[in-house]
């Protein structure tokens, strides 16, 4: 972060664009000023403000793992003014980035445990950062299981990486689409994420579970995890309330007295239970 002007972004060059799903793109961003890039570091779970000059800023997580240096990635869906302006950028263009902001997934504390990732829709990007950060240090963890669902087959993001994870013997991957979203060729499951998790019933013994999804998915998945015996302190999620500043001043992301940008975005279910349901 720029100490002299906390609102001043880094200049980032888009070095690679990947079309993930209809309206969803991933940008790989490299620091235009290599000196700034060398001083920059982040940890998985953190987020930033991405901007097109003249259009404004948008908040996304850093979707790449902290284990890979020299660049960051973000994945976004084209919906509003800023994301449309971003989607219209081409490789080589320069955009703004402020960050990293927020707390982190404490993956160092998860050593020696099973990891279960549960994601829905466009919420895979924050999870993808954690998954790769863990896969890049694979021997620190025991079983790694990934549940991922989207409305339709077409809406699944990171299709190449899903294939890669599916082919790895050290990852258990469960893909699902909502009823009606399947295609004739679809080999995954059909059903909502919480019910797929309930059917597979992963063991809660010595396991950490990470849930990312729309608020409705998070609220429906917690009771299933409780039934499977997971303790609240071992369930992690990341909240994505609307933000402008990213550092606790603009006043809109707070859930009760807790600032998602400063105290989060990573919370345990234990912490969420103490917070009002304002997310």
């Amino acid at each position: 972060m720029n100490k002299n002007n906390i609102y001043l972004p880094y200049q980032m060059k888009i070095s690679k664009i990947t079309q993930e799903a209809p309206g969803v793109k991933t940008f790989r961003l490299e620091f235009l000023n290599s000196g700034e890039g060398e001083l920059f570091s982040f940890k998985t779970g953190q987020f930033g403000e991405y901007s097109v000059y003249g259009e404004g800023e948008s908040t996304f997580c850093i979707a790449s793992p902290h284990t890979r240096k020299g660049y960051i990635e973000c994945t976004f869906r084209q919906v509003g003014r800023v994301t449309t302006a971003l989607a219209n950028q081409e490789e080589g263009a320069v955009i703004g980035f402020r960050g990293p902001y927020g707390n982190v997934f404490p993956i160092d504390d998860w050593k020696g445990k099973d990891l279960i990732f549960i994601a829905g829709g466009i919420a895979l990007p924050p999870m993808r950062s954690v998954i790769w950060s863990c896969l890049d240090t694979r021997n620190h963890f025991k079983d790694i299981t990934v549940f991922y669902g989207a409305r339709t087959v077409n809406d699944l993001v990171y299709k190449q990486e899903l294939e890669e994870w599916g082919n790895r013997s050290d990852v258990n991957l469960h893909l699902t689409v909502d009823p009606g979203g399947e295609t004739p060729e679809w080999k995954g499951e059909v059903g909502f994420v919480p019910s797929v998790v309930e059917n597979v019933a992963p063991s809660s013994i010595d396991a950490i579970v990470i849930v990312c999804g729309p608020p409705v998915m998070i609220k429906n998945t917690f009771p299933v995890l409780k039934k499977l015996g997971f303790e609240d302190k071992n369930i992690y999620t990341t909240l994505e309330n609307r933000m402008k500043c990213g550092f606790g001043k603009c006043g809109r992301c707070n859930v009760g007295k807790t600032f998602v940008c400063k105290d989060g975005p990573v919370f345990t279910a234990e912490q969420l239970a103490d917070m009002p349901g304002e997310y």
Binding site: N5, G56, K249, G251, R252
Partner: protein, 344 residues
């Protein structure tokens, strides 16, 4: 607090403003079409003393409605970003600030100087000297005393002037910045022996127990009281606009041709779009939830996180509200709530 007091005779008052005008921008309460505003002045006699409280608070001196954060120029070769030059922020002295407004700036500082420090706000604060006028009158909307403030409260002020029975002024020297003004105007301030500041101040009754408020409102989160109190709220955001402590903002880009700037602009938690997600989901989806946020932020979250309240009891939001929602009455109602026992 043992502040030093000096005497500023009525004959010296204009001289002080005149001297200040020679070295920096001077602002003060000025009458305009029957209303009072803090405005830039060129002559000492533009300042009025005939006001309870100016229409707008003094927050825009440190937190302007629109603040340029940096500028940029777009061309075929890309974007050139130019950082804001903080040296262009001028020195200002604000005369006749009410103690509640000075406290507002003090409390607003807690938000902007909270890590990470906002250097733009900080520079504006450093460049601004506040000479407050203690209150000898109040109206039905004023309730600073119920929140631990008062007509002679000195938080946020560098000097406070208190008008005496002889129309002279007691000058209470509060900060080094204030002391510097006194020392650089040696002929104007006289030594004074005994000081009875209180007798020149308006008496304003305390209407509720401030120490109970934070606990009561924090416990009331899940009750229906915020829906009840805001039933008639139209979500116009006027309360935030005129509030001396409302610091919530939006960040937007403004462009003209190839030139542009990123700006920080006032915003309000009372507006529906404030927290609206791209997906259409809104964590504060009713006016009641938004009013709850407004009050909880001021009386629960800010005290808890920053050690200051988000309200100084100036009563402006009640005066400005088009549907007559009265914050003073609402706070009294909240402090009368019985203790809520939560189930473990």
């Amino acid at each position: 607090m043992n502040h030093q007091f000096k005497l500023l005779r009525k004959e010296s008052y204009s001289g002080l403003i005149g001297n200040l005008l020679k070295s920096q921008q001077v602002y003060g309460p000025v009458k305009q079409e029957g209303y009072t505003y803090y405005k830039r002045i060129s002559y000492p006699d533009e300042i009025t003393e005939d006001y309870i409280i100016p229409q707008m608070s003094a927050k825009s001196f440190v937190f302007p409605k629109i603040e340029k954060l940096f500028s940029f120029v777009k061309s075929k070769d890309g974007v050139r970003v130019e950082d804001k030059n903080l040296d262009t922020i001028p020195k200002k002295v604000i005369f006749g600030v009410r103690p509640c407004d000075a406290t507002g700036i003090h409390n607003l500082s807690a938000i902007f100087l909270w890590e990470p420090e906002d250097s733009i706000f900080k520079k504006r604060r450093e460049q601004t000297t506040i000479i407050s006028f203690a209150c000898s009158s109040a109206d039905d909307y004023c309730f600073c005393t119920s929140l631990g403030g008062g007509p002679g409260n000195t938080a946020g002020s560098d000097i406070q002037l208190i008008k005496t029975g002889t129309n002279d002024y007691l000058a209470e020297i509060i900060t080094p910045k204030g002391a510097e003004i006194v020392s650089s105007n040696p002929g104007l301030f006289e030594d004074v022996d005994s000081v009875e500041k209180e007798k020149y101040l308006v008496r304003l009754p305390v209407c509720f127990d401030d120490s109970e408020l934070e606990d009561k409102i924090t416990d009331a989160f899940d009750t229906a009281i915020f829906d009840d109190l805001s039933m008639k709220c139209v979500g116009c955001g006027a309360c935030a606009f005129i509030c001396p402590v409302c610091g919530c903002f939006d960040i937007q880009d403004e462009t003209k041709g190839s030139m542009g700037q990123r700006v920080r602009i006032w915003d309000s938690c009372g507006l529906r779009q404030f927290t609206l997600h791209t997906s259409g989901h809104n964590p504060r989806d009713t006016q009641g939830a938004r009013y709850r946020q407004r009050l909880m932020h001021k009386f629960s979250y800010m005290p808890d996180r920053l050690g200051v309240k988000g309200c100084v009891g100036c009563g402006r939001c009640s005066r400005a509200c088009p549907v007559e929602i009265n914050i003073h009455e609402n706070l009294q109602q909240i402090t009368k709530l019985v203790k809520i026992h939560k189930h473990e």
